[in-house]
Symmetry: none
Subunit: 225 residues, 4 copies
DNA sequence: AATGAATGAGAGTTCATTCAT
DNA sequence: CATGAATGAACTCTCATTCAT
């Protein structure tokens, strides 16, 4: 047997095909599951179909995730819940005006969530949450609550720094969220579109809504209203 | 057809409860079905439960509606599709400005659809449409298309009469629809609400959005506004 | 339509084949289940097989019993647990000597339980109890405990009336039960019998054991021991 | 066969743990399997669990034993079947009275089998034998038959030497076996015990039963006993 | 017209066994 | 030799739909 040419051959690259597959499996399954959950809903997605799309057999799915519900939670973690720490950090370090911060927030939300398949998970929970109370509770705890927290901190920053009027922050959260939710839902609403394509330009829609919201939030710059 | 023995079976109120119930059956089933479809979704609603809520047996349900899908179609007809002729007529006879017409449209839509259980059917189609292509097609044909037609005629009237700028009417339809859809969806989204209650006031939200839309549609007035 | 000749035609005999079947179903299923549980054990008995032996389809079984475990509990109730009230009453009214009472007890136990398929349920619980804790608990509560109570009362009666020595009744229960359990087990032990038939004569075995037990229990009639 | 490089691989204790483990594997697997089969039954014991308890992987189990059934047979051989040659020899060389021989037999049976985990295998076969006909046949051939043979020879010796009455030996076998089987079964019957502990003292029970059996077997002595 | 007992395809999940590494 | 990822048949339970009554 010839000596490996590089040390790394021994430490990194010497993996069998099987090993590589093994490490890739959870990710492949999560991706397949995300696709199918978003496409068909939680109840209507058959476990075997998820497995098949990931290129494995039914049994293999349950090797990695102990049940369909746990698979769903893992999908939510991977695509939404697990990313809040990063997002929180990003906003902790933000230094501009709070208006810009909110604009930035809406924009990156669209880029990272709204425009991706992950937005389908929100639609899914709105549709099927009532039928799967444990999943709904999980989603509220791991996604809705942290999301609200993040927004609350932004809005509170605006109020604290005198940029925003002393509004009821908890109430204002919904004003900010509303257009996001709308976009997520319309994006996944096949049956509603006569010609298959929604005519709304999400970025433009979001920009307009953002300004509307900011108009309502901001302290009038000089004169009294 | 032999004459009824009594003046009018239809008007005669001296009837056993049983007889009345008999004729009311389909209506009761449709109402029960609407409730349950909206509450749990199409797939998750069990036929037997619909029958039970209507106070009849499983078999009776299938006596009136040959399948769960046909039952759903009947519910959609009863609550949405079948009412467009009446609505169309109403707008044919409208005589005020097109801006007022649109304001009126949004308002009565909220009263007659948005704020009622019927709005849940739209949410339902957005959630499960992909899993039931025949229902989706039916819904598009019988609800979405007529709705778009109605709006298109209103908008075209505005353009034709010089009240609205010569916009792309097909595109503008979505601008008008967007807030309606948003309200319908948020209304049925239990899982998304941390504290159980959305803080949005639908009437106010709709009024503001209506004015925003009109602001974008109207020809800038020559004289003062 | 000719008038029924007897009133009973109307009240009793006017049953369709279907109705008769319907009433017989639970009993047929319980009997099939008893047979199969005793023959193959709880885990190894497939629900569909029970249904098939009762002449119905898989689904029908679950129409009458919500789960395999509940089916098992119903079988235990039907064959063992539900008969203790009757047995207790019988012994409450017994008037002879306690020795005869115990002899009678052993004999009727063999006739009504030991020699019947019901004895297989005890074997089953001993074999599989550990794998189905809920069933084991149910069996202990509904069968073992009442059985012990019944015996305790008999033994206590003997002690109270001076027929038996002042023994530890709770301990003596096991002495009485031991031969019953042995017979139940050997009866269902196919693998242990070389030639297919156990050579033990249960009635004789039980009679001998009973006298042995009584010998140990009874106060020596006259002289001191 | 080439000579081992060291004096004796078998006796040489200077070995790595790994090497020792290697050779101990089958034994460790058999021990783990015995534990689990006795604890949970044959069907309810998962192969993987056996492997895990033996500290090896699932694959390794199937390297040593081609199937779960073969594993079970090996466990039976190790703990019961394989020991009959030794036992037979022991009894061939016995020189005392046949009564003492039988007393000795019962006692050592309790010491070597009844009181050990091996007795669980008998209970297991009685419980699950019908579901695994090949195992049942194996058990009958390798354990039940040799056991009966051994007893038959003892009893025949007693008859031949005039110590026992000229009884039907084949029938008497069951009289001798009965208390052994009873003890084995009661020992593994968790579900049957209300208070968790059976009150029977096995050694005492066995001694009494032995004397009872001998009483029935022995020729009434001419002189005093 | 009305019933509800019966059906059976189909879903999630388990586990003995295989085999590439 | 040893591993453990992968398989797929088998099992329990659900529910839309049928049909004898």
């Amino acid at each position: 047997m010839p000596a490996p040419r590089f040390l790394s051959d021994k430490l990194c690259s010497v993996r069998t095909k099987r090993e590589r597959r093994k490490e890739a499996r959870p990710g492949e399954l999560l991706e397949a599951a995300l696709d199918l959950f978003v496409e068909k809903g939680f109840a209507a997605t058959r476990s075997e179909e998820v497995a098949a799309r990931a290129g494995v057999s039914k049994g293999t799915l349950f090797l990695y995730f102990p049940s369909k519900e746990e698979l769903f939670k893992a999908v939510v973690n991977e695509n939404l819940a697990g990313r809040f720490t990063e997002w929180n950090k990003e906003f902790d370090e933000y230094e501009g005006s709070t208006s810009d911060m909110l604009r930035y927030c809406m924009r990156v939300w669209w880029e990272r969530v709204g425009s991706t398949k992950a937005s389908g998970l929100t639609k899914l929970m709105m549709s099927e949450g009532r039928n799967f109370p444990e999943l709904a509770e999980f989603y509220r705890r791991e996604v809705v609550r942290p999301g609200h927290e993040l927004l609350r901190r932004i809005l509170q920053r605006g109020v604290d720094r005198g940029e925003f009027a002393p509004i009821d922050v908890d109430h204002a959260i919904y004003t900010v969220i509303a257009p996001m939710i709308f976009l997520m839902l319309i994006k996944h609403a096949a049956a509603i579109c006569v010609d298959g394509e929604t005519e709304i330009d999400p970025e433009k829609y979001l920009a307009i809504q953002t300004e509307t919201v900011l108009h309502g939030l901001c302290v009038p710059p000089r004169a009294s209203e």
